[in-house]
């Protein structure tokens, strides 16, 4: 523990840590802001994943990103899972801890996808209750991530940005602004991404995500953008990211690449691009 760098995550670029890059990251000692991991992949009792993660954590700050808590589920949170998250936070001292505005468990089953929520007063109350419980048990401020969605619900009455702002107001949690999710949802539902961002409660944003997406078509031949994290960041997402950073100020920016993971230099190249963008934002603010 004593050999670790400080947990604080700088307003720099980081990347999602992939096992195929462990070796090279330890050998190259890249100049990078931080790494982020999906919490559930490090919930085994022991073994190589923990050995690698500890070695990376000694050299770099870490962000812990949960993908399985199901904060938006109607059913109660899984208390065993909350305890596992708490144990990971205590073990690795992540600088940031985040989860999704989504649900993924129903009844006894884990459905292994981040499923969309109807935005109603009932859902709002449930999400706030679960965010409170998470922050209390894990003992850390939670960052809640805006989702990428392919459908909407007839019963929704609250715009997503207002919904998120209200969760922040009621629970004191922060937000993880996923720029690519904004592009994906805006394209899929036919609204303006810049307008969404203008309404986003940016004061609560402590981290930004950028990931690749794939473009298909829906039944009506409208573009249907799939958030597959399987390619380089799209120029539209970079532009929106520059706009967001202009409003928010410098913040940690994470590159997500989970499918068709490239060689390390390609992924690191995306991070350097984000670092250049952050420098431009700083210069613009200073001017």
């Amino acid at each position: 523990m004593t050999n670790r760098v400080a947990p604080t995550i700088p307003a720099r670029a980081g990347v999602g840590l992939k096992p195929q890059h462990y070796r090279q990251i330890l050998d190259d000692k890249p100049d990078i802001g931080f790494f982020e991991v999906h919490a559930e992949n490090y919930m085994g009792a022991g073994g190589p994943p923990h050995r690698w993660l500890e070695a990376v954590r000694e050299r770099h700050p870490l962000s812990l990103h949960g993908v399985g808590l199901s904060i938006g589920a109607d059913r109660p949170l899984d208390s065993a899972h909350l305890q596992r998250l708490k144990a990971l936070v205590e073990r690795y001292e992540p600088g940031l801890f985040s989860e999704h505005l989504a649900w993924s468990s129903h009844g006894e089953a884990f459905l292994n996808d981040l499923l969309p929520l109807p935005y109603t007063e009932e859902t709002l109350a449930r999400v706030c209750e679960h965010a409170d419980e998470t922050q209390t048990i894990v003992g850390r401020r939670l960052l809640l991530e805006n989702p990428s969605t392919y459908v909407i619900f007839a019963e929704s009455t609250i715009p997503e940005t207002e919904f998120l702002a209200e969760v922040v107001r009621r629970t004191g949690c922060g937000l993880l602004l996923d720029i690519s999710n904004v592009v994906v949802s805006a394209t899929n539902h036919g609204y303006d991404a810049a307008g969404y961002l203008a309404r986003f409660p940016v004061a609560a944003v402590d981290e930004i995500h950028l990931g690749g997406f794939a473009i298909g078509e829906d039944d009506d031949r409208h573009p249907l953008v799939i958030d597959d994290h399987g390619s380089a960041i799209d120029p539209a997402a970079w532009r929106l990211c520059a706009d967001a950073l202009g409003r928010i100020g410098p913040a940690p920016v994470l590159i997500e690449w989970d499918n068709d993971v490239p060689e390390w230099p390609v992924l690191f190249g995306e991070a350097r691009k984000a670092d250049r963008l952050l420098r431009e934002v700083r210069h613009a603010a200073a001017a």
Binding site: H38, G68, H100, D113, G216, D228
Partner: protein, 98 residues
Amino acid sequence: MNRRSANIALASSLLAAFALMSVPATAQDSGKEKCFGVALKGQNDCAAGAGTTCAGTSKVDYQGNAWKYVPKGTCTTMKLPGDRMGSLEALARDVPKA
């Protein structure tokens, strides 16, 4: 053999077994790869699956009808010889003599 002499035989065979253990089971790993272990891909992530638009649309594809498939991997060269398709008799016949 009565119980007492059986015990003596056991004790001496255990002693003999321990006496034969010369190599202590200490980690003699060299190199970092062995020290950290295999870097297996994590299974949980927050991305949509690759090629997601079409794979889920076909009901047949989604449900999977394995009855129409025949195993066609390396098992085609790993066939059990003769008629010994895992019956209990074959098993008994295959137990090596002690």
